[in-house]
Symmetry: C2
Subunit: 531 residues, 2 copies
């Protein structure tokens, strides 16, 4: 540990004592996730800018101390702020929070790694911009860059978020600096607007990897639609799922709908609406079939329900797009509801007739402040508290602190009813067999692929649940790997859970790591399976 002490001293002298924390309470926070972890963190670094990130990496190499960068650390369910391996110093990039460039005409913004969703939203609002961004399902104070680097999914037309960014600024593990795309040429006009640049396209190397620290990137924005509607739909009967999936594939593939569709099961929706019904269940878990059905009737979401937004440049186009969606979905769903500006002007009785069971003010707020418009919110935080006995900590959500249990498992599945059915059945059976309610979201963002996002939600304060949840995850992963549905994204618990490789990929990945990080000091083990 002498080298660690020496490195800490060097970092302190480089970026200041205030920017290097070794306090037990701080380290504790960075060692805590939404599941069991044993990793110890010797210190946390808070560089204020890219130069300091570079200087810190030079020191890390000098003393051979591994560094684990996080942007905002809101990677709940996949590892929060916790490094994959023990003994890493965490580098918190929250201080890199500048919005570096913005262009209203060409619809882009250049951001540092620590810029939050809320910050970008407010930036655009202040400028009365006609542009919006693809918000993620995560919290308002989560990082946009961090989510892109994990190839996360978002709302809106640019939901496959990594597809709509370019011009990375990357600090290599050695402290060297690289700009991707056209960015290596000072003054190149196409840096923020051309994805590929000239020569090999390198951006992908720095996503889901431990090959570099992305300190800056350009994020593309979308003009606000002149016509916006939200389509909500639900099916009562589980067997209607396959046909629904195939119909949505048609809508995506033929270009009718440019944004994503989400299809959630009843458990997922329940966990947004309320916490576990402890009283009604007499404290018994998991949820009984009777209680499940009763709660479904209360909330009215059906077995599967979901949303999609219509973004159109004018009302004429919006209207016919809506008609096409309605004609496609109506024969397949039990409920179909359109939310649009007309709703704002309905009398309360007309509203009640058209949207039975909905609170008018709440529905209007939900419609007007929807993440599909690029307005981030914390509404999805509640689901992590599903099995907790404490009340929702509104405005102070912190699932790590509150010992919420959450493990995500997210296989990629072909956009086809039969594939989705097979995967969903396996996940559902495995979840119940571990005493956990199957909480499933089907993210239909691109045209051919669905990312199933399964949540294993539990209470870390219940003895044995940490172990049980991890076993449940392992069982899901093993069962789905066996039939070819592989995770699209990995938690820190999952880096070695991919199937065996049939080619020379592992060697190549190792050599790439060696090339970029000869001392293996950047985020060791992250997306780097053991050989």
């Amino acid at each position: 540990m002498n080298n660690v002490r020496a490195a800490i001293a060097a970092w302190q002298s480089q970026i200041g004592d205030h920017a290097v924390s070794v306090a037990e309470t701080t380290r504790e926070i960075y060692q805590t996730a939404t599941f069991a972890t044993t990793q110890q963190i010797p210190a946390v670094l808070y560089p204020a800018n890219r130069d300091e990130v570079q200087a810190c990496m030079v020191i890390a190499n000098e003393y051979r101390v591994p560094v684990y960068p996080i942007s905002r650390g809101k990677n709940w369910g996949y590892g929060s702020r916790v490094p994959v391996q023990d003994g890493c110093v965490v580098m918190d990039l929250a201080g890199l929070n500048r919005i570096v460039a913005f262009d209203e005409d060409l619809a882009y913004v250049t951001l540092e790694a620590g810029v939050t969703q809320q910050q970008l939203y407010e930036f655009l609002e202040e400028r009365h911009s006609n542009l919006f961004f693809s918000a993620t399902g995560s919290a308002t104070d989560s990082s946009l860059v961090g989510n892109v680097l994990e190839r996360g999914l978002g709302e809106g037309p640019y939901g496959d978020r990594f597809a709509y960014v370019c011009g990375f600024e990357v600090v290599l593990p050695t402290g060297e600096l690289v700009h991707t795309g056209f960015g290596r040429f000072s003054g190149a006009k196409a840096t923020p607007i051309n994805k590929w640049g000239v020569g090999p396209y390198l951006d992908g190397l720095f996503t889901q990897s431990n090959l570099g620290i992305v300190t800056q990137m350009t994020l593309w924005l979308t003009p606000k639609p002149k016509h916006f509607e939200i389509v909500w739909y639900a099916v009562e009967d589980d067997h209607k799922l396959e046909a629904l999936v195939d119909a949505i594939r048609f809508l995506k593939l033929s270009g009718v709908v440019q944004g994503g569709f989400v299809i959630a099961n009843d458990i997922r929706m329940l966990s947004y609406h309320q916490q576990y019904p402890w009283a009604e269940s007499n404290g018994q878990t998991p949820l009984s079939p009777e209680l499940r059905q009763q709660l479904n009737q209360t909330w009215g979401d059906g077995k599967w329900s979901g949303e999609a937004a219509i973004y159109a440049p004018n009302h004429a186009i919006g209207k016919v797009v809506r008609q096409t969606i309605e004609e496609t979905l109506a024969p397949l769903v039990d409920k179909l509801c359109i939310f649009n500006d007309e709703m704002l002007h309905l009398s309360s009785s007309a509203f009640a007739a058209q949207y039975p069971g909905l609170d008018q003010q709440e529905a209007i707020r939900w419609y007007q402040e929807n993440p599909k418009r690029g307005i981030p919110n914390d509404l999805s935080m509640s689901m992590m508290y599903w099995r907790k006995h404490m009340a929702y900590p509104h405005g102070q959500w912190d699932p790590d602190r509150d010992r919420c249990g959450l493990i995500w498992y997210s296989p990629a599945v072909p956009f086809r009813g039969s594939d989705v059915r097979k995967a969903v059945n396996l996940l559902t059976d495995i979840a119940w067999s571990y005493g956990i309610e199957p909480s499933l979201g089907l993210n239909c963002i691109t045209e051919r692929n669905i990312n199933i996002i399964a949540a294993i939600v539990y209470d870390r304060d219940v003895p044995g649940e940490d172990e049980r949840a991890l076993c449940c995850y392992k069982a899901m992963c093993q069962a789905l790997n066996a039939v070819g549905y592989i995770p699209y994204r990995l938690g820190i618990y999952a880096m070695n859970d991919l199937p065996a490789v049939q080619d020379d990929y592992q060697d190549v990945l190792y050599r790439l790591k060696q090339t970029f990080d000869p001392n293996h000091i950047l985020a060791p083990g992250r997306y780097e399976p053991k050989r």
Copy 2:
């Protein structure tokens, strides 16, 4: 050269005498481009499959003989089949011409490197598929994979072609094998439908590079639209270009038009319609302003003209999209013409009234067999013969053989009228100053970027023209580099013409090359500037 002889013997014994050519006539063909080259080629290899590609690379390493892979060698204007450096053995992948997989529902096809546009078109026709692909502007017998790897541009909704492929199979320079995306996992269901896979995204490394030989990839297809129209527009006045560009950016950014727009200048259009007017000009070049104007009036294309297609899943959507396009463009253009199925049923007099000056049968054929529908054709070949005295070799186009002179120069420019104007003026002035007609196409494929494709067209049989054309290219490149418009794609003459780099990119690129190709035997110099 002893090692070359030994390598040839080893290749002959490995893949057969018939698959290794050292014939002078063959080598001559592979040494010829549409501009001056001096590179000598010791031999040409014709592997029949991936295993043979791997075995050939093992031999290349053993004897340290550089190998330069081509897919179909139709890279006219950028280098045809000719290696960047002298002394490379060419590996012709035409033998890898299998269509490996096809899925009508999920809309993809998996191709080997040698599959041609025409081959895929016929494959889909035979199966009565409801799918089509993004055809390139190149010839029917050009490779689809080759174009994607150069990050070429295509017609149709998937014109940014590299954005719509995945699942590469790559033979590394060492002979090792790597599958990108989910492909490294045998049986992974998402390999052909998920672009990114899990872990670092590697596909980009193998585009515009010399890091691997892509032997196979999956190409995404689009459902044939239920409603298809082509919008044609022209402006008479050069000064209307800026406003037109800005309006088209609106149509792209707001999602009205999913396919690309092309805007061509009068010279470009002229060179499609006819060869240089040798008689009218008394053999003088370049074209005089008077003759230029006279020919423009004959063909009626205006100073700038272009096309875009409407792809809609039904007529209701198609109709309002067309209205939006018409409303947007009409105030800005001098001519606006819509070609759609209604045209097929017009009487000849009604046709003549609606489409003055057009031949009805020809227009119908053009509309029905348009590359925008995924039907490749050779119509763009004629432009390379603009300055030739020989007649068009219909059905036997071969610009290398026929000593057509063509050098492409393709800077990336922000999608903004003022940027386009600046670049266009520079290119125009430079072309004329070298006695060459400025032949410009503005490829508006994505939302924020325009690739200007300038053609330097000449006759290689005229002494001095090879040198003059190269000087013209150099002058364009220098002038546009200086103001920040950098080429998006490089010819073999251009690999060292990029501006100086402001970061550690060059070192990283060199180390990457070292990692993938320790003996530097794959396509040396290709997208690998001298350090």
